[in-house]
Symmetry: C2
DNA sequence: GCAGATGGTTAACCAGGTTGTCTATCTGGG
DNA sequence: CCCAGATAGACAACCTGGTTAACCATCTGC
């Protein structure tokens, strides 16, 4: 069997993902957001989409609340979110995105879109859209756990505004 | 337009990769290769392709020789490779794939191809081939890092343990 | 023949996840 | 009204894959 091996396809997909993410990460670093990784941006997006406590964020990311807390710790330490106590429930620490956090989301989104636009130039926008459509057909039929689209696609669609 | 955000595309790529890899990994486990993860298979492939020492493997996977050594340790412990001393260079421990390792490669390849074939049925084989061709155009072939970043590696890990 | 490159090992550490345990705080049924 | 149980969060120990750094043994080239 010649060049079209399934393993190669897998590597292509991973390579594509990495390529996008690496580019965005690097540009982000050059814009004053060094150290930010995709996982942080995704978490921030989930917070923007309504996950206002650590436990809640954990649920949305299908990750333990402790893991979510660690991510939040990073976001707080870097002034992307603030944690303020909830007057209605003393157990909770409500999460609020800071202006800097908003800025990160905006810039991040724009950078991802830039990469995508770049790709569109390389292979043609229509081809790119077809690629997306077909990938969506293949990926969406949800794999059991956290095939990503489930927990993120909705949040990703909407801007944080 | 939420429809075509770059971030979403990135997630689609990741989702596609994960989807393939999860499937293969699961099938592998059912065929007596439990605990094997993509990184192991890729490493084994690299060894098969000529990486016959730990340092060499590290270079091919763009990973430190120490990291490569850890992977090799797993492969050796599970009887996928053997390490034998090199008569021509006492520093080296040459890597040789065992029959079981060969079997893993064969089965793994077949499983990946199965998934790919499945995808071909879902969206049409021609469409799939086009998708591959375009992806290949986009992914820098000179930068084919196989290495999986830590934050992703954990996602690829088995939660069974 | 020796300086320097190279292979391998070990150790300390990091990042992000996990589970388990503990406290404080809500909440609902008797 | 009160206590059992659920929930939020914090902390600790541990796992997995990576990273550097340091070190020894062994080649290699001038």
């Amino acid at each position: 069997m010649p060049e079209s091996s399934g393993a190669e396809l897998a590597l292509l997909l991973l390579g594509g993902f990495r390529s996008m993410v690496d580019t965005v990460q690097q540009e982000l670093a050059e814009r004053g957001h060094g150290g930010v990784r995709p996982v942080h941006e995704f978490a921030l997006r989930a917070i923007g989409a309504g996950a206002d406590t650590a436990s809640d964020l954990g649920r949305r990311l299908t990750v333990s609340k402790q893991a979510a807390a660690k991510t939040i710790a990073f976001l707080e330490a870097n002034d992307y979110v603030r944690r303020e106590s909830d007057p209605d429930d003393a157990r909770r620490k409500r999460l609020r995105i800071t202006p800097r956090g908003d800025e990160l989301l905006t810039v991040g989104q724009a950078l991802f879109n830039d990469v995508r636009a770049q790709w569109g130039q390389q292979i043609g926008i229509e081809e790119l859209e077809m690629l997306e459509a077909q990938l969506a057909k293949l990926v969406d039929p949800g794999h059991p756990r956290l095939s990503i689209p489930g927990w993120l696609a909705s949040e990703l669609g909407e801007s944080v505004s």
